[in-house]
């Protein structure tokens, strides 16, 4: 039975590859998509029936080992239990329906192929997540989901707002990604292996490890919570969900109405055995869920646009699911998840009908004095709460105010870093660093202890500068590359390990970095101006460069298409559990890396086209 698990990953993978290779013909593309998700649903039903008849055992399949050293093993692992079964059924069923829906709905839309590519890619990522048997496998799917999400939000890439919101949502996702990396980092130190979820179910094992490292346990749980909260749009991240609703309605329905947004819940369910015994963590998760529910219910009640209303109402339900998970009601949480997913998908899909339906209702049932419960509040409370809810409790602006703006402020202080200065100062400095690395005896161990911090800090400075660079795209790109190099150097001082680890880490960076640089250079030779202070929309005229550059972006950002992906995990395994500052520098670097890269891609290739010879929408539309 276990070996069948592969099928659920390979099927969408095959479908995705086929759809990428297929020519731009609607009928063919829709048949590929239909065939893939149809077969997937069919296999799901058959497999589920078989599995249930056999007493629904928990399955675990240790798959390929991608990388191995003496004390480190990066392997793919799949598992199957009731949680996976529920997510699989809901996912397969809804994706199947939405795919059929979209075959007609997107008829004649210019991004028909792009749409089905992305949907299938999303579906592949979704299945990898729900079948994942360990954090590493889950992380692969997680990254795929993030990027497909970005592409679907920016589906209408020639308009300003979708692109802006896609970057915004990506930045929140990025926080979740790094939460996951840190989770892997610490759990590696805790268990001294890449532990499978199956082993987490082993109470003695978990308990034994946590007994001596209780703060590590809390740290891991917190990281899991941050990751889950970001993905499931819980506080304080909630405001991204309505803003993600820029794509065609069916993709919005499946992504943000149902499947993607419930994956935070999935992560909690998956890791439940780990934090089950940490009472304070359970209280925290429950409290966060409850707070989210209370606040977003208020926000949902004042929404005057149909999609944002459904979005916030859905967040409120997910908050309740968090509470249920924290309380240990797993089955209830699963039922609640399925119901909420079906309901919101349907509500979003029929949302355009709301006009004729509610206008008719209003025509027959209108009562001018009808008021909601809130009108019984004292005026001051009523007005204040209303304004707060309309302003979404400032959730969106606080993301800027407390997170991105300070970083930008710091970045702007680095304006003195021009391209020349970067080259003149940092390349010799780097060479010096390497020199020291090979001649360690020259410096005292006291100094050497601080070198990782110094170097990783320089790396952070690089990427901060990259993130806030207003002009030169190529410089911004180069700085991201250099950041990786500084990190590699920093870690090399931290722990002595073989040269291959560094190579593994940097190989993807170098290849993707050079490829991306060449793309930018080529584009610059055509277009002259590709400065980052505005959107250029060059994917319109240079779709091929745009595609190659997107792949380079993924490579440079440590996406699971190059060894850098494993390298990142590996790099973290060389940070000790008592080096939170180093971990902080490096994880912040990774967050900003992703943001800086996606920012370059968005600014250069997406948005309204700089030349006004093409049809162009108003910025506000």
């Amino acid at each position: 039975m276990t070996s069948f698990l592969h099928l659920f990953i390979l099927l969408p993978l095959a479908g995705f590859i086929l759809s990428v290779l297929a020519p731009k013909k609607e009928a063919l593309l829709s048949q590929i998509a239909f065939g893939t998700v149809g077969l997937h649903l069919l296999s799901t039903i058959i497999f589920l029936g078989y599995w249930l008849l056999h007493g629904y055992p928990t399955l675990d399949l240790k798959d390929i080992v991608l990388f191995r050293t003496i004390d480190y093993e990066f392997f793919i692992d799949f598992s199957f239990d009731m949680i996976t079964a529920t997510y699989l059924f809901v996912g397969a069923f809804l994706t199947f329906l939405v795919t059929i829906y979209s075959r007609y709905y997107l008829h004649r839309e210019s991004g028909y192929k792009r749409f089905f590519n992305t949907i299938l890619f999303f579906y592949l990522g979704y299945n990898i997540i729900i079948f994942a048997g360990n954090l590493e496998t889950l992380f692969i799917g997680w990254e795929m989901l993030g990027i497909s999400s970005f592409l679907l939000i920016a589906f209408y890439r020639d308009r300003y707002l979708p692109v802006k919101n896609a970057v915004k949502v990506f930045s929140i996702y990025r926080i979740g990604d790094v939460g996951l990396i840190l989770t892997m980092w610490m759990s590696h130190h805790l268990f001294h292996e890449n532990i499978t979820f199956l082993k987490l179910n082993n109470y003695e094992l978990v308990h034994e490890h946590l007994l001596t490292h209780s703060w590590i346990g809390v740290f891991i749980s917190l990281m899991i919570l941050i990751t889950a909260a970001a993905k499931s749009a819980q506080l304080p991240f909630s405001s991204w969900l309505p803003r993600a609703m820029e794509g065609p309605t069916p993709s919005t329905a499946i992504f943000y109405g149902s499947l993607a947004v419930h994956l935070g819940v999935f992560l909690l369910l998956r890791t439940f055995p780990f934090w089950e015994q940490q009472f304070s963590v359970r209280i925290l998760i429950g409290a966060l869920g409850l707070a989210t529910t209370l606040i977003t219910t208020g926000i949902a009640r004042v929404q005057s646009s149909i999609k944002s209303q459904i979005a916030y109402a859905s967040i409120a339900q997910i908050g309740l699911i968090f509470v249920e998970v924290a309380a240990g009601f797993q089955t209830l949480a699963l039922i609640h998840f399925a119901g909420n997913a079906f309901l919101r998908t349907y509500q979003l899909l029929v949302s355009p009908s709301v006009v004729s339906y509610l206008i008719r209702e209003q025509f027959y049932n209108f009562s001018p004095r009808e008021r909601s419960i809130e009108s019984s509040f004292p005026k001051k409370i009523q007005n204040g709460l209303y304004i707060l809810c309309v302003k979404e409790w400032n959730l969106d602006s606080s993301m800027y105010r407390y997170l991105w703006n300070p970083l930008k402020w710091v970045g702007n202080k680095l304006d003195f870093l021009t391209l020349n200065r970067v080259v003149i100062f940092f390349i010799p400095a780097y060479l010096l660093g390497i020199f020291i690395l090979y001649n360690e005896e020259m410096i005292s161990p006291g100094v050497e202890r601080y070198l990782p911090f110094v170097f990783s800090f320089i790396g952070l400075v690089m990427v901060l500068k990259s993130f806030t660079e207003r002009k030169l795209a190529r410089m911004s790109w180069t700085l991201v590359m250099m950041n990786h190099f500084w990190i590699a150097l920093a870690i090399s001082f931290n722990e002595h390990f073989t040269y291959e680890h560094t190579m593994l880490y940097l190989s993807g960076v170098v290849v993707a970095g050079i490829l991306g640089f060449l793309c930018l250079r080529r584009l610059k030779s055509f277009e002259n101006n590709i400065d980052l202070d505005q959107f250029h929309g060059h994917s319109h005229e240079h779709p091929k460069i745009a595609l190659v550059f997107l792949l380079s972006c993924l490579g440079l950002a440590g996406f699971p298409i190059t060894p850098t992906f494993i390298g990142e995990d590996l790099i973290f395994s060389h940070i000790h559990e008592n080096q939170p500052i180093l971990a902080f520098f490096i994880s912040l670097s990774f967050i900003l890396d992703g943001l800086a890269i996606i920012r370059i891609y968005a600014r250069v290739f997406l948005g309204p086209h700089v030349k006004s010879i093409y049809d162009m929408a108003y910025r506000s539309s």
Binding site: L97, E246, V350
Partner: protein, 831 residues
């Protein structure tokens, strides 16, 4: 003495601003109109050139598109040459042809709007719009919301500004981030002048600043302006004005600047390096703009010429039918054009007419249990009558999925675990077997088939809200007479005369009102057809008509009906009042109708790529019906797309022509109206109604991004009044791309069968009517009914026009063409 500083006249600027803003009403009252109505005082080509320069609109197809049309011979070479030689002289034809066909031009668009406010970004490095718009749109939408939100705006009875002021006075959280803007709101009178002084400083820039500001979100400003002009557009009224919107936005701008620049900031005028170009300066003609206008005319006339040739090449013989089986009146709507053709084909002894679908009765309608009135007549008319529905038996179904309870957390908790699962089933069924549901906007639901209507006035004292309930006999007779005379039906009545109104059913379609009858203010025409039939059947009315020379035999009965244009279904009303003989006739006619509907749906299906056009008519019809209620079908029908003609005259003019559903057909018999007295009543609405439809399709097609609503797939419904992309976007007036993608942007050609001098007199009767013609927003050709010669109206006079095309193909069987062709089919002669 005062120096002559340019002074800012607030009233004047506000007035002008409202003039330029989009006029589109809330979704439920969607009515087509000229998108560039603000420029209608100019000649077409000058107007579009000016609009393009001022607001950056694209106003025609691109050069490449035109050249491709020329290559595919959709723009004909002989026509192009004729247009050039008319405009430039014969000797310059080849020179201009060269320019038009192959010269390279810089077509980069430039617009004046926004250039002043762009300085915030340039000189201050602040993205003011992205700080102000989200909160501004949200507050506006929450204030105007007609029923989406559960917790509604706390102060609804007051004007926008007073409402916000009242809330700000008593709250613990503020809309504003800093104190100054809030103080300005609470403690000052908030004069636009004073606020602009803070923001802009230089009075000469105020006007341009306000235009820049409001046109940065013309959708929201437009709806505010439209509601200000017609407050009853919203069932739940709001006192919104463009003035309040501007003040609020100015305050938000001050607030954002205060927030961004803690140390203070100078007004925009102080930092301005150079003054922007005047928004209203004249836009000179360029070679490129001339090229575009020649292309447009060549495109127009390539089609017109073919139509005129078709009219002149056939139909000379008197197509008199001795004994008619029935007569049927339809709306002039272009969608009825093919249905009529199939009726006449299925039953050659029937006769059809076209007239605006409100059938000359104007009234408000109140369905049973309705809390409001619905206007059922052309939008500019304000009726004095009320018709109420009684004894309705139909129930309004509810759909729990639109219930707001699922949005609160406790009932949402229950609902998502119960109804949630049911929605999976519903979705499944909906995708595999689409059917009518409460979510569908259905034309048949407009009025209950078996209900009673208060058509006849009982006593003059019977009034409600200043409206007379029903019509008196005299009033009924006047309306029946005017209807019959206007279409020339004054003798030879068939035993049954059908009055077929129309409406449309669709689902997931916020623009549903645009699919219904425009002559009934975007509603279905069922009540109107029933009402007029009642009047024409009334014995006392018939007496009066007789005294006025219209003798309707007592055996003749009028029967109301409704044609659903997306589903191709017909519903008849009051059949039980038919005489036994007529009931028999009716039963036979019904079969004719049903067959014609099947054929009609097959003709329509040729444009639906997802329906196999080789299926037989019955099967195609089933698919067409299914399509109209499919959640996933963004094109329930193609509505007015491809419209290009309006023909006023006898049916004989067009009966022999295949016009591919592109013509509005208005029946009119010049012989009973030699002076053209009735003609004015017919021609007056043609500009605003048919011209409005045509131009809205035209401009939404040529610039779907700015003048249209863009693709409807990501649309989000805002407050039940409009659609926007995402949650922070501006409202999108205009038509979505799915409605206009097959439309060919040619201007409307109106052909009138009457003597040119009579037509000229008629259009000149009223300046606003004349404007449509003299400024070439629609083209006009008069046909001399005796000689059958054509006369083209241009620059105030009629000049003869002889079609260049000599030959039009005669086609005996349309089916192969309909099955093979997806694009527009040229004019054909029917045997």
């Amino acid at each position: 003495m005062k120096s002559p500083v340019p002074s800012f006249d607030e009233q004047h600027v506000l007035h002008e601003l409202k003039h330029y803003l989009p006029e589109q009403a809330a979704l439920k009252d969607f009515i087509h109109q000229n998108t560039l109505h603000a420029f209608q005082n100019l000649k077409f080509h000058e107007a579009v050139r000016t609009a393009s320069q001022m607001f950056g609109y694209k106003v025609s197809l691109s050069l490449d598109e035109f050249r491709a049309l020329y290559k595919s011979q959709k723009i004909r070479a002989d026509i192009l040459e004729k247009i050039i030689s008319d405009k430039k002289g014969t000797e310059r034809v080849s020179e201009w042809k060269e320019k038009i066909l192959s010269k390279k031009y810089d077509t980069a668009a430039f617009s004046r709007i926004g250039s002043l406010r762009a300085n915030w970004k340039r000189e201050y490095h602040i993205d003011l719009d992205s700080m102000v718009h989200p909160i501004l749109f949200r507050i506006l939408c929450s204030y105007l919301d007609q029923g989406i939100s559960i917790w509604t705006f706390p102060v609804k009875e007051k004007s926008l500004l007073s409402a916000i002021r009242e809330m700000e006075r008593n709250t613990f959280a503020s809309i504003f981030r800093k104190q100054r803007a809030r103080d300005l709101l609470l403690k000052s009178s908030c004069e636009i002048n004073d606020l602009l002084k803070i923001l802009v400083g230089d009075e000469s820039l105020y006007k341009q600043y306000l235009f820049d500001q409001q046109f940065a979100h013309q959708g929201w400003s437009g709806i505010a302006s439209a509601i200000e002009a017609l407050p009853d557009m919203l069932l739940d009224r709001r006192k919104i004005t463009v003035h309040d919107l501007i003040v609020f936005e100015l305050l938000l701008e001050i607030d954002s600047l205060d927030y961004q620049f803690v140390k203070g900031w100078e007004p925009l005028g102080n930092k301005l390096k150079s003054k922007p170009e005047d928004l209203f300066a004249e836009v000179p003609e360029t070679e490129l703009s001339e090229v575009f206008s020649i292309w447009q005319e060549a495109y127009d006339w390539s089609y017109y010429d073919e139509v005129l040739a078709g009219i002149s090449l056939g139909g000379t013989e008197k197509a008199e039918v001795p004994a008619k089986t029935f007569q049927a009146m339809f709306c002039i709507d272009d969608r009825e054009c093919s249905f009529r053709r199939y009726l006449e084909k299925t039953d050659p002894s029937c006769e059809t007419f076209g007239t605006p679908g409100f059938f000359s009765v104007e009234f408000f309608f109140q369905p049973e249990d309705g809390k409001f009135y619905t206007k059922l007549c052309p939008a500019p008319v304000t009726p004095k009558y009320l018709i109420k529905e009684m004894e309705s038996t139909s129930k309004r179904e509810k759909d729990l999925y639109f219930s707001k309870h699922s949005h609160s957390f406790y009932s949402g908790w229950l609902i998502s675990q119960t109804l949630g699962f049911w929605s999976a089933v519903k979705l499944f069924v909906n995708i595999f077997r689409p059917s009518m549901s409460p979510a569908t906007a259905s034309s048949f639901r407009h009025m209950d088939k078996y209900s009673k209507l208060t058509i006849e006035n009982k006593s003059l004292a019977d009034r409600e809200n200043d409206l007379q309930v029903g019509f008196t006999v005299e009033e009924m007779a006047n309306r029946a007479e005017s209807l019959l005379r206007s279409i020339g039906l004054v003798k030879d009545f068939a035993p049954i005369v059908y009055l077929v109104g129309h409406g449309s059913s669709s689902v997931n379609n916020p623009h549903y009102a645009a699919y219904d009858c425009g002559a009934c203010s975007g509603r279905a025409g069922s009540v109107n057809s029933r009402t007029m039939c009642f009047m024409a059947n009334h014995p006392a009315v018939r007496e009066i008509l007789k005294s006025r020379g219209i003798i309707i035999p007592s055996t003749t009965q009028f029967v109301g009906a409704l044609h659903d244009t997306s589903r191709d279904e017909v519903m008849f009303f009051d059949e039980n009042s038919l005489s036994p003989q007529n009931l028999q006739n009716h039963n036979k006619n019904e079969v004719v109708f049903y067959n014609a509907l099947d054929l009609n749906s097959k003709e329509r299906a040729r444009r639906f790529e997802l329906i196999d056009s080789h299926l037989n008519p019955e099967k195609t019809h089933e698919k067409v019906k299914m399509r109209s209620v499919s959640l996933f079908e963004p094109r329930p029908e193609l509505n007015h797309a491809t419209n290009a003609l309006c023909i006023v005259g006898r049916r004989g003019l067009t009966k022999h022509l295949f016009l591919d559903r592109r013509a509005f057909l208005n029946s009119y018999d010049y012989s009973i109206d030699p002076e053209g007295n009735l003609l004015f009543g017919i021609m007056k609405p043609l500009g605003p109604v048919c011209g409005g439809i045509n131009l809205e399709y035209f401009f939404s097609r040529v610039d779907n991004y700015k003048l249209g609503a863009g693709t409807k797939l990501p649309h989000n419904v805002m407050g039940l009044i409009g659609v926007a992309n995402g949650i922070d976007g501006d409202l999108r007036p205009g038509l979505p791309s799915q409605m206009i993608e097959v439309h060919d942007p040619v201007r409307l050609l109106i052909i009138v069968e009457h003597f040119p001098e009579v037509v000229l007199r008629t259009i000149q009767k009223q300046a606003e009517t004349y404007e449509w013609f003299i400024n070439e927003w629609v083209n006009l050709v008069a046909m001399n009914p005796e000689t059958r010669d054509f006369f083209h109206f241009k620059d105030g006079g009629f000049t003869p026009y002889i079609p260049l095309k000599q030959h039009i193909e005669i086609i005996t069987d349309l089916t192969p063409i309909l099955e093979a062709e997806e694009d527009n089919i040229p004019v054909l002669l029917l045997p």
